[in-house]
């Protein structure tokens, strides 16, 4: 069996070039990509590039080194498209865009753009200050959500841990969305169009659920809702 060479697809889009890297390990892809640029340097000179890396998980060191190597060759990397939340997060930390204006479904027709209503995103905590999760569905966090972290969800938000950050459930206007946490002490809590800050609490904390009742945000101990 011969080895499949790394695959580099180049497309012209409105914002420059969209380049898709698939079919090999990350270091191989990078080498092939850089070679490609060096062989066609006049074509790439001054290009604005959005990179689709598929499911590859990239950390800051890898992505920033690629960006530096590209900029040394006169190529400006402005966006990273990825299916991996880690890679998206890395790209955002580096100030790169993670969306391009046109939807990216040319190559992957099977991925629906809108997740189904009951889709749930699983987040391994703790979600630290500066961490941000946005998802058009429900979000479940295993661990604390610290002050300075943000979760924006189309559906409900469940936190198996302490909530101290900012959460917005039902961000698309769903008034039935709820937020629950083992300890509910958010900086700010929003459901649909309502905003509340948590009152100063004394004494022992308990699991609570926040929901909209007659247009008002209310938080109740978990066991009260149990019987419903």
């Amino acid at each position: 069996m011969g080895e499949t060479p790394p695959l580099i697809q180049i497309k012209g889009i409105r914002d420059g070039l969209l380049i898709t890297l698939t079919g090999a390990s990350w270091p191989e892809l990078v080498t092939a990509f850089i070679d490609n640029i060096e062989n066609r340097s006049t074509f790439f000179q001054g290009a604005r590039v959005a990179l689709d890396v598929g499911p590859v998980e990239l950390r800051v060191a890898e992505l920033s080194s690629l960006r530096d190597r590209l900029s040394e060759r006169g190529v400006f990397l402005w966006a990273i498209l990825s299916e991996s939340p880690l890679t998206e997060n890395t790209a955002q930390n580096l100030g790169l865009a993670t969306r391009i204006s046109k939807p990216r479904l040319v190559e992957i027709p099977n991925v629906a753009v809108e997740p189904p209503e009951d889709a749930t995103k699983w987040v391994k905590g703790p979600l630290r200050s500066g961490g941000r999760v946005t998802f058009n569905g429900n979000v479940v966090v295993m661990g604390d959500v610290n002050s300075g972290a943000e979760i924006i969800a189309g559906g409900s938000i469940i936190i198996w841990g302490r909530l101290r950050g900012l959460v917005h459930a039902g961000a698309g206007g769903d008034e039935k969305a709820v937020v629950c946490a083992l300890e509910l002490a958010p900086t700010q809590l929003r459901i649909a169009g309502e905003i509340a800050v948590s009152p100063k609490k004394q004494g022992k904390s308990q699991p609570e659920v926040a929901h909209l009742q007659d247009g008002h945000l209310t938080a109740e101990p978990w066991n009260v809702l149990n019987g419903r």
């Binding site: 950390r59 060191a61 930390n93 703790p126 630290r128 200050s129 500066g130 610290n146 002050s147 300075g148």
Partner: protein
């Protein structure tokens, strides 16, 4: 210590400024040096250097970190030997340049060159999470995240820990500086438990608030050399923990005689 082992690179970072990073680097370095370790401190705070003052070496600077990186001198020439400890060196930051004068890969290369020469490389990171922080963290084998027991310092520490995790640099070690036990008892300051609970990383040091820190900083005489000072002792303990010793945390909460009697009953 056998000389064939390669050095460990430790970076002290905090996010927030003024929590005591520079003091910690100076004192941990001193404490390691008193335990017969070879130590090189690197000031990563280009443009706002301070480590030279805290170590009392400011008048000996000829070449600095940027001179090394830009090839104006050899690495050895920028290493300033400490007055007290023959195996403690400082590579100072440039004062007239800024963070962009050095890149993360420069720092990695610099540390790789230093590794065979020493047992420990301690890097003092500047505040913030931008270029200077990235430079300081790039070569680190381990990062010490420093915080004070107040909400804003803890939140910044949390952000830094998150960034380190994203870069695959974790797990970081935690040092809590300026703990005032009397204020904790009155419920006016976060306790050690509160901070550890929130940040959820390994604690390797608790340093009590101590006025002598300011005096020693101004004198350029790190407290770790002073056996009587509680803060100095706390820094000595951090050094011992870095060396792999199991050291119990200092008990700042000394019970009065009445409580002691009650405890016996």
């Amino acid at each position: 210590m056998d000389g064939n082992m390669t050095a460990k690179v430790i970076t002290v970072a905090s996010g927030k400024g003024g929590v005591g990073k520079t003091t910690a680097v100076a004192n941990i370095a001193m404490a390691l040096a008193t335990r017969d370790q070879r130590v090189i401190c690197v000031d990563g705070d280009i443009g706002l250097r301070n480590l030279d003052v805290v170590l009392g070496l400011e008048n000996r600077i000829v070449y600095d970190l940027v001179d090394v990186v830009e090839g104006r001198c050899r690495l050895r020439q920028a290493m300033i030997r400490d007055k007290r400890m023959p195996e403690l060196y400082l590579i100072p930051a440039a004062q007239t340049r800024d963070k962009t004068a050095v890149s993360p890969s420069d720092m990695v290369r610099l540390c790789d060159e230093l590794r065979p020469e020493t047992d420990w490389i301690l890097i003092d990171s500047p505040a913030g999470i931008e270029r200077g922080f990235k430079n300081a963290v790039a070569p680190a084998d381990r990062v010490i995240v420093m915080t004070n027991p107040d909400i804003s310092a803890v939140r910044d520490a949390d952000r830094v820990i998150g960034l380190l995790e994203a870069e695959g640099k974790g797990p970081a070690a935690l040092v809590i500086n300026r703990l005032n036990q009397a204020m904790v008892r009155r419920g006016e300051m976060l306790s050690v438990e509160d901070v550890v609970d929130l940040l959820a990383i390994e604690l390797i040091g608790i340093v009590p608030e101590d006025e002598n820190v300011i005096v020693s900083t101004n004198k350029g005489q790190p407290l770790a050399l002073d056996g009587k000072s509680k803060a100095g002792q706390a820094f000595q303990n951090i050094a011992r923990r870095l060396l792999g010793e199991k050291v119990p945390f200092l008990d700042f909460n000394i019970p009065n005689i009445f409580q002691r009697l009650l405890g016996r009953m």
